[in-house]
């Protein structure tokens, strides 16, 4: 107890805490580790539970043992089984198609706008930034009703374009915002330096600018893809059985017994949808955090 007064907790002390360890327990460090442990458990426990359950035999759904028991791959077979009226493989493909098309379109348009916002000084710049930010927070339901009617009238209901076009409404603002942040950080002087050193504008672009922008573009594309991949509201109303993405498929997943929720299979489906995403995010975590805090991306 007495040592709490000598080792004062705080940002600066914490940073120097290891050097201060002269006898006694370094409470600041202990507290920090407890904090870290709590956060990690908070974030990962439900995710862990999903994976553990996905490998658990259906008969032991509510076993509730914290570690893997009754391990089986049956749930994964059930997920891709089409005899129960689910077509999960098709849903995965649909999500991929919708996500890729949305991302390509959003980046294609967004890259120009972001360049202008980051690099040029033009009138109405802040207005445009405001519009973009406002658009990214636009409630999806406000688009849903008119689009539902429009797509029904022109026979687009349940088509891929009916799912891709509304997704642009949040993917494009997101792309513009994140890319603007990335672009305004870039050392553009290097382009000038390359030109001074005798590079042609083409070389300066290929050898200096492109390698510099590629990581930012890639991260932005990933963020846009994740946003489209996770979209549920619009897809749940505008897709048909043939075009429904994974989020809709998982929410409507049916088991062999109509009265019984096929929990283990749904957890397996969730794992299939999530794990690749999580791996991708973890590989790119540094950049994604930078992009996230710039764009205020919704989850």
């Amino acid at each position: 107890m007495a040592s709490t007064t000598t080792v004062e907790p705080g940002r600066a002390t914490a940073a120097r805490a290891p050097a201060r360890r002269r006898g006694g327990i370094p409470w600041a460090t202990v507290r920090m580790y407890i904090g870290i442990a709590l956060i990690v458990i908070f974030c990962l426990a439900p995710f862990y539970w999903m994976i553990v359950t996905s490998f658990r035999d259906v008969g032991f759904t509510f076993d509730n043992t914290p570690w893997p028991t009754h391990v089986t791959l049956d749930n994964y077979r059930t997920v891709f089984d089409t005899s129960l009226g689910n077509n999960f493989a098709q849903a995965l493909l649909n999500s991929a198609i919708i996500g890729v098309c949305t991302t390509i379109l959003a980046v294609m348009f967004g890259v120009f706008a972001a360049y202008a916002l980051a690099r040029l000084d033009f009138r109405g710049k802040f207005l445009v930034l405001g519009i973009v930010l406002g658009a990214s927070m636009f409630p999806g339901v406000a688009l849903l009703t008119p689009l539902f009617q429009l797509f029904t009238n022109i026979g687009w209901f349940g088509t891929y374009q009916a799912l891709i076009i509304p997704d642009i409404s949040f993917a494009l603002p997101l792309t513009i915002y994140v890319l603007t942040a990335f672009f305004s950080e870039m050392p553009w002087e290097l382009e000038q330096a390359a030109l001074v050193d005798g590079a042609t504008p083409g070389q300066a672009f290929r050898k200096v600018i492109l390698p510099l922008t590629a990581p930012g573009l890639f991260t932005t594309a990933i963020l846009a893809f994740i946003a489209a991949w996770n979209e549920y509201l619009l897809a749940s109303q505008l897709s048909s059985d043939r075009t429904e993405p994974v989020t809709v498929a998982i929410a409507a997943f049916t088991g062999s017994q109509p009265q019984q929720e096929p929990y283990t299979a749904i957890m397996a489906a969730g794992t299939v949808v999530t794990v690749p995403l999580v791996i991708l995010v973890l590989i790119l975590q540094r950049r994604i955090v930078a992009g996230l805090t710039a764009g205020g991306v919704k989850g």
Partner: protein, 335 residues
């Protein structure tokens, strides 16, 4: 494209040479033009995918839905409806009478207050918890990578999957009841259902809030804390007098993002509880209404949109959440 305007803006104090001035103003005009060309495609796309539907929704909201009137049982032709679609929701009027309980028309205020309740509850919890997480993360000199990685996991899981995951956790025989030693019908009764939605949302979004706040914390220079400590400020004083005021812009932006996000909450309650037991939000009400009548749904979605817009406006104007500037300075601090 008036050059004079650009000239006055670009003109510097003192007497710049005529040539320099002209060169600069031409440069500014060129930038204006190029900026316009580069921005235009995106703005046009946004006008098509957002502007057009919004205008159309407003137009639709003043049209009558053709079909049987649920209150009178008579067939109603379409046509101009005036504000009747709006009064239908706001005053829960079906025709000339009060909407009977059970119909969607009687659920507006219930859904409205549920949405408000979710917003206040989740944002308060998430900001407090997120603040604590951000403080821990900013102090962590070891395990920072692990923290950042685990914090990103809930964020990257699709909300639909999150909802199903918590649906399983909150199942009657599920792990939540086991851990609590309780027998709660989580998704089957009013308050537990609400808490289920709130807990799931807190799990999914708090890490994101923490990241936003952390970005704000990282731009506070270390020596401010050193100076305060030299002056004998306690830990609590340092938090309330330094951390809070300096992190306030980032905090306001985080709160704004979250508020606007929860006001349109749909996936989580829709999948977790199906909107039953008073967990129906405005978005769920719109979706339920769509197949019963486009125009009435359009009025409701317009009300929702206007409401969210007003909230955003109040935030930006009254509380001074400078979204554009803060997010940009955060981006610099986040590296």
């Amino acid at each position: 494209m008036t050059t004079t305007d650009a000239e006055t803006r670009e003109a510097e104090p003192g007497e710049p040479s005529k040539r320099g001035r002209r060169g600069r103003s031409e440069h500014a005009a060129a930038q204006n033009r190029l900026g316009l060309y580069l921005i235009a495609p995106s703005i046009i796309v946004l006008l098509i995918v957002i502007g057009y539907p919004v205008v159309r929704a407003v137009v639709m909201s003043f049209q009558k839905d053709a079909g049987l009137d649920p209150a009178t049982g008579l067939f109603v032709e379409g046509g101009f409806a005036g504000f009747s679609n709006y009064t239908h929701w706001l005053f829960e009027q079906c025709g000339d009478v009060k909407c009977p309980p059970g119909t969607l028309g009687s659920q507006f205020w219930e859904s409205f207050w549920t949405t408000i309740f979710f917003t206040v509850a989740t944002v308060v919890i998430e900001v407090c918890l997120g603040m604590w997480m951000a403080l821990v993360m900013s102090r962590a000199f070891k395990g920072r990578g692990l923290l950042r990685a685990s914090v990103l996991v809930p964020w990257s899981i699709p909300t639909a999957v999150t909802a199903k995951l918590w649906f399983f956790i909150f199942a009657f025989e599920g792990i939540a009841n086991r851990l609590l030693g309780a027998q709660i019908l989580w998704t089957g009764s009013e308050w537990p259902a609400r808490f289920a939605v709130i807990i799931a949302d807190v799990w999914k979004t708090t890490p994101f809030i923490a990241l936003l706040i952390l970005a704000g914390l990282q731009i506070i220079p270390e020596d401010v804390y050193e100076a305060a400590k030299v002056d004998g400020a306690t830990r609590w004083q340092r938090f309330t007098r330094i951390t809070l005021p300096l992190v306030k812009p980032a905090l306001l932006v985080a709160v704004l993002f979250r508020v606007l996000d929860v006001l349109r909450i749909f996936d989580l309650p829709y999948i977790l509880t199906g909107g039953a037991n008073n967990t129906s939000t405005l978005s769920i009400l719109v979706v339920n209404q769509i197949r019963q009548g486009f125009n009435s749904a359009a009025a409701l979605s317009t009300i929702t949109f206007v409401f969210i817009f007003l909230v955003a406006f109040v935030f930006v104007r009254v509380l001074g959440a400078n979204v554009v500037q803060t997010t940009q300075s955060q981006q610099k601090g986040a590296r």
